[in-house]
């Protein structure tokens, strides 16, 4: 009996790598998918056309000068917007742009267009437009009258948004294939480069995410919740920029190395302060790192208007860094992918090695999962807290440095669209494992760079990504929700679990 049991367990172990990988991936992947679905609902439900089509009030289209109750009256222009129908030559079509309305005269084909701002071809017009006239009194556009329309509009808004997201983050496969063929035939890589730009942008955006995600993940492993990555990124970028522009005659490799190290030191300094406070006084790192964020923003804002302002510039920007401090970009414009990418991967490998293959990492993880056990086995909890916050801050500082040295080449106030805040969700999604962080960072980089084009093409604000992230955090933190939604069985997993809510004093 005992033997067969043993056999079974060993065969389980053999299988278990793939099963483990599957189990580990299942909830995060479903969490992201669920987040995107929920985001789709938000996009649809906030779409002006959809909102109008389910609004309960019927409108009366008033003729000019006609006196109607203002609460149900709608002028012709506005009515046209919400009454898409067949279109014919000579009609005026209506197009949604943001929440405004545009009027165009419809002409038969594209070549007849003389004034792009006033005319539009039939084919494009027919997608979304209207025939209405003054005096069509009392058109009701309620949901019950036109239920299908609301669903169509909802579907269209979501499809538009996510198509823009996809094309903006990964590019159009057709264009990539065409570009490749052109390159093979003629050797001209411009078309290919243009087609690959979205992918390059996604990778470029994932670079700071890898660093910042590693920073937060390392903190998690040591039982610390570092919300201050954003501030550490700012200070790291400031240090790197300062080294970058104040030396002009250094050899390139040395200069860029110095600038990177400076960035790490800057971030580390900003991380050690709350770490030290936590270790010595017990002040909770969550509040302190948030406060350090605000302080960092003010400090950078002051520096860019005072000591670090570019001479002769009225704007709050630093001088451009010397070319010897650039992190090299690999390909010609418009591909901006730079050496920071390999630096980020190297950092991930380093963190993995540090956490799982060294004594320091073992101590950090022990302190994170059971500080009492760590204390009784002779580890210094407070020293480990300080070390962890320093390392975490250094990694976040590298994110700032790579942005300045590889991408912008100067420091501006708004250079980070919230990498540090996003990295919290990212580290959770990656289960605080370096490999998971890299994968999650690639996903977030893709989402973020796609969301930029979603904002410009489909008028869906980029903040939808932030909302999706919050949901992902909830789903990852409460996997029961995901399991319940998808009727999954409970699995045994997660050996080490860190708890952050230990009260304020310990």
């Amino acid at each position: 009996m005992a033997q067969t049991e043993k056999k079974q367990s060993s065969s389980n172990k053999k299988k278990s790598f793939w099963r483990q990988a599957f189990n580990a991936m299942l909830v995060p992947v479903l969490a992201v998918i669920t987040g995107l679905i929920a985001g789709g609902f938000v996009i649809a439900m906030s779409d002006p056309v959809v909102l109008r089509s389910i609004a309960p009030n019927p409108w009366h289209v008033a003729a000019e000068g006609e006196a109607v109750d203002p609460s149900i009256a709608i002028d012709l222009e506005t009515a046209l917007q919400y009454h898409p129908n067949e279109v014919d030559v000579g009609d005026y079509a209506v197009f949604k742009r943001g929440t405004g309305v545009l009027f165009r005269e419809i002409v038969e084909s594209q070549d007849q267009i003389e004034d792009k701002d006033k005319q539009i071809d039939l084919e494009r017009a027919q997608r979304r437009s209207a025939t209405l006239d003054t005096g069509n009194a009392g058109i009701s556009l309620t949901f019950s009258d036109r239920p299908l329309f609301a669903f169509q509009a909802a579907w269209r808004s979501v499809a538009d948004a996510y198509r823009a997201l996809f094309l903006g983050s990964l590019g159009s496969p057709v264009q990539i294939a065409e570009g490749w063929q052109l390159y093979r035939k003629t050797g001209d890589s411009q078309a290919l480069r243009n087609a690959l730009r979205p992918i390059s942008e996604s990778l470029v955006t994932s670079i700071p995410y890898v660093f910042a995600g590693l920073a937060v993940a390392l903190g998690f492993r040591a039982g610390l919740f570092n919300i201050g990555a954003e501030g550490q990124i700012f200070i790291g970028a400031t240090f790197a920029a300062y080294i970058g522009y104040s030396f002009t005659s250094l050899p390139p490799v040395l200069h860029v190395t110095l600038a990177i190290i400076a960035g790490a030191i800057g971030g580390a300094a900003w991380g050690i302060i709350p770490g030290w406070l936590k270790a010595k006084t017990g002040a909770h790192e969550v509040i302190n790192t948030i406060m350090m964020n605000y302080i960092a923003f003010r400090v950078v804002s002051w520096l860019l208007r005072g000591p670090m302002q570019r001479p002769g510039s009225g704007k709050p920007v630093s001088p451009v860094i010397a070319e010897s401090a650039y992190l090299p970009q690999f390909f010609g414009a418009p591909l901006r992918i730079h050496a920071g990418f390999f630096l980020a991967i190297a950092a991930a490998i380093f963190v993995w090695w540090l956490l799982f293959k060294t004594t320091i990492g073992f101590e950090l993880r022990t302190v994170g999962s059971n500080p009492n056990a760590a204390k009784y086995s002779g580890m210094s909890v407070s020293r480990n807290i300080i070390v962890a916050m320093g390392l975490s801050g250094a990694l976040a500082g590298l994110a700032g440095a790579s942005e300045v040295l590889g991408l912008n080449h100067y420091l501006a106030e708004a250079f980070s669209p919230g990498y540090g805040f996003d990295s919290i969700a990212l580290a959770l999604l990656g289960k605080s494992h370096p490999l998971g962080v890299v994968l999650a960072a690639l996903l977030f980089g893709t989402l973020r760079s796609g969301a930029t084009s979603m904002q410009s093409l489909a008028q869906v604000p980029i903040d939808i990504i932030t909302m999706i992230q919050a949901l992902v955090i909830v789903f990852i933190a409460a996997p029961e929700i995901i399991r319940w939604l998808y009727r999954l069985r409970k699995v045994e997993d997660e050996g080490e679990k860190t708890i952050f809510a230990r009260g304020w004093g310990s």
Partner: protein, 428 residues
């Protein structure tokens, strides 16, 4: 002999107390020296400073003469007084050294203001009223924290609750035209977010710091999304995002008192509401059955459960009340102050409120005291910007955050949180 030692055990000081006595004494003397060095020596002789005692806004209070004094002698006096207190602390030691520290700090602030405003006048009443007004959202945040944490749930989502409630209240107020409905809208949204936090923390036993952070991120994202999706259209903005604000209420008779009247009794509903919540919360926590149960659940849920208290129910109710109070705090930002929502307009006030709660040792009254301190720092930095425009405003803007960190570091070790704070309760 033995009797003498037995009757006076307090006389003997431990080494820690001795150390504290010397450190605080040195700090007091240092502050006194700083007053003399930076302000008194740097001031011009024969110049006077005027502290305005009449409000710069409409009020019923009769005009009183402003307080005008010669700058330099007063600065010397303040500096010497601080040094004297320091000497006393070094030699004998004050029993309530914290209060004396407050006094010395106050001397420094007065000296600074007297020096900065030398040869000019400076509206003291205006600043004190601004202190009360600006500490209101912080205090509400702190009360919200007290409400949740006394029952054992860490509520780090106050910031997000405030932000969402700020938007909700201005939208409801703009659409309905009623500020009271707007306030109600803010309270409902705050309560709803509290419920979400409760479900995650109680039902799913999610780490409360994580679920709080998720609510903060969700609130930031949602409010910014709404602003960018809808409010970019000026027409929609004026329809959904511009309301009136609560007008100041001049309380009869009380508002006629000079100096005190304009500071305390000519503000709008928000500070009054804050005081009301303070009183209600204090009475309820410490003088009712509900309060007893709350504290029991926060300290020892298992014992409370054994005695028949429904731990989950108490926690659900408290976290929702916590969200509602945060909702009022959020409403302050829009319908209580500017009548319009801006992205991330709460600016960390929720977190500062949490620090105030810790500083106030998880009691409503203490929280108010700490909030007044933060509110003072806030209105003080604003005044300095006017008095010394050359001083980089960024540092002044950072001051409340720095003070929060100092307060946390200095206090948190000695303030005792509810024992079960942040620990999910597992029913057996």
């Amino acid at each position: 002999m033995s009797v003498a030692t037995a009757t006076a055990p307090t006389r003997t000081q431990t080494s820690a107390e001795k150390k504290r006595r010397i450190i605080f004494g040195a700090v007091f003397i240092l502050i006194g020296t700083a007053i003399l060095w930076f302000f008194a020596f740097n001031s011009e002789g024969g110049v006077t400073t005027t502290f305005g005692l009449n409000p710069g806004f409409a009020s019923n209070a009769p005009k009183v003469p402003d307080l005008t004094f010669p700058t330099q002698p007063v600065l010397y006096g303040l500096g010497l007084l601080a040094m004297f207190l320091g000497g006393w602390q070094l030699a004998k030691g004050f029993k309530s050294y914290a209060v004396v520290f407050g006094v010395v700090f106050l001397l420094f602030i007065i000296a600074f203001l007297a020096w900065a405003a030398q040869g000019r006048s400076f509206n003291l009443v205006g600043m004190l009223q601004a202190t009360l007004v600006r500490s209101t959202p912080i205090a509400l945040g702190a009360f919200s924290g007290v409400m949740a944490e006394r029952s054992g749930i860490i509520n780090i989502a106050i910031e997000g609750m405030m932000l969402s409630a700020a938007l909700a209240s201005v939208m409801v107020a703009s659409v309905s035209g009623s500020l009271w409905l707007g306030l109600l809208g803010g309270i409902i949204i705050g309560g709803a977010l509290g419920l979400i936090h409760g479900v995650l923390a109680i039902q799913f036993k999610v780490d409360q710091i994580i679920s709080g952070t998720a609510i903060n991120i969700l609130s930031t994202g949602t409010t910014s999304f709404i602003v960018k999706r809808f409010f970019i259209d000026p027409e929609i903005n004026s329809a959904l995002n511009s309301s009136k604000i609560f007008a100041p209420i001049h309380i009869p008779i009380l508002s006629d008192i000079p100096i005190i009247g304009p500071i305390f009794f000519s503000v709008n509903i928000m500070p009054y509401l804050m005081i009301l919540i303070l009183v209600v919360q204090h009475v309820m926590l410490f003088h009712t059955r509900w309060g007893l149960r709350t504290i029991a659940v926060g300290e020892h849920p298992k014992a409370a459960d054994t005695l028949g208290v429904d731990v989950f129910r108490v926690r659900y109710i408290n976290i929702m009340l916590s969200g509602m109070i945060a909702g009022i705090g959020g409403a302050y930002f829009t319908i209580g102050r500017v009548g319009q929502f801006d992205e991330v307009m709460t600016g960390g006030r929720g977190f500062i409120g949490l620090a105030a709660m810790i500083f106030g040792k998880w009691t409503p009254v203490g929280s108010l005291g700490a909030s007044l301190l933060f509110g003072f720092a806030d209105s003080f930095q604003q005044k300095i910007q006017i008095l010394i425009p050359a001083f980089p405003s960024e540092f002044l803007l950072a001051a409340p955050y720095v003070i929060t960190m100092i307060v946390l570091a200095g206090v948190v070790g000695r303030a005792i949180a509810p024992v079960a704070d942040g620990v999910p309760y597992e029913k057996e």
